[in-house]
Symmetry: C2
């Protein structure tokens, strides 16, 4: 399973935001929606071997983690509003310490990065990391930030994780995911033939 | 200059669509908006050496071509609604055979693919093409389709163009642009050092 974890530093943790203002009052929820798209969509198909974890750290009840499962998700279209609508529904249900399904293939729980780091061997997508094209074995889980840098607390948590880079320019999180998956696609291809 | 040309086979050619329903009544305008994003955005910066051409073929007055210039564009944010809003404004002005600026760095004219093919040396991004990683010299202009295949008429126009591929899976147009630009970034890097 391939996993992408994206931190939404200001992303609201209640569902009462407007789909018409995701970059503003919803705390750059648009960034997270685009990461769901780039993690899960192929042309006319879904990437069933990918999970996308969104860590929401905005008001009023952070942290919460929303999981989109490429294997199980339904009702998801590629546009930002579609992912935003499923995030709204997830934030609308009662949230416990374990994942609860809000719509098919979308789950929510309390908790954030620290717990995810205890569950998966995570690599950081970082411009100072080792080039993914020269990495012998690609990690299975990747951490990215939204439009903001990691906080000091987060930096402490990830100080020792492996760092990998997708190229010479600093890119948006969703673009980085697309390039990462392309590298994985290319490495898988021989075994599919 | 790097150029991406995206065909929107059903994308409306009048500005009276709702930003709340770009995948539906606007004719998959969301696809074109995402291509603007992937063509022009870097993290906290714009790709000033990229132009993104959207060819709109939907009702009521096709074909029209909208150009987003990375060097000149203003008022563009990464979310789909932002690009959609600038497309609406472009479709709202009187359109002639030459590009007219609708908002800073966004231009519209009558005409479509045939004219663009006469202006630029275009390569087709196609899963059966030559791998971009093994192409000696990368083309400067690339043609992509939205969620639909090229029409027969379009196929006739592009029968002899160079075909390049970004990898083993068939991807959305915006994801393909992201991977293409990453390959270009990597090749440019040495000369920047």
């Amino acid at each position: 399973m391939k996993r992408f974890i994206v931190i939404g530093h200001k992303a609201l943790t209640s569902g009462d935001f407007s789909l018409n203002d995701m970059p503003g009052s919803a705390g750059r929820m648009d960034v997270l929606c685009r990461c769901v798209n780039s993690s899960l969509f192929l042309s006319h198909d879904l990437r069933r071997d990918v999970e996308c974890y969104l860590v929401l750290l905005g008001e009023p009840n952070p942290p919460k983690t929303i999981l989109f499962s490429g294997e199980r998700v339904r009702y998801l279209n590629p546009d930002e509003r579609s992912a935003g609508s499923l995030i709204k529904k997830a934030l609308g249900i009662t949230c416990s310490d374990e994942f609860t399904e809000s719509t098919k293939g979308v789950y929510i729980r309390r908790g954030g990065l620290e717990r995810l780091l205890s569950e998966f061997q995570v690599a950081l997508l970082d411009e100072h990391g080792v080039d993914i094209r020269t990495t012998d074995e690609l990690p299975e889980a990747y951490l990215l930030s939204d439009h903001m840098n990691f906080s000091e607390g987060e930096e402490d948590l990830i100080r020792d994780v492996q760092k990998v880079s997708v190229g010479p320019k600093i890119l948006h999180a969703d673009h980085t995911i697309t390039i990462m998956l392309n590298e994985m696609d290319r490495r898988e291809k021989p075994s599919e033939l």
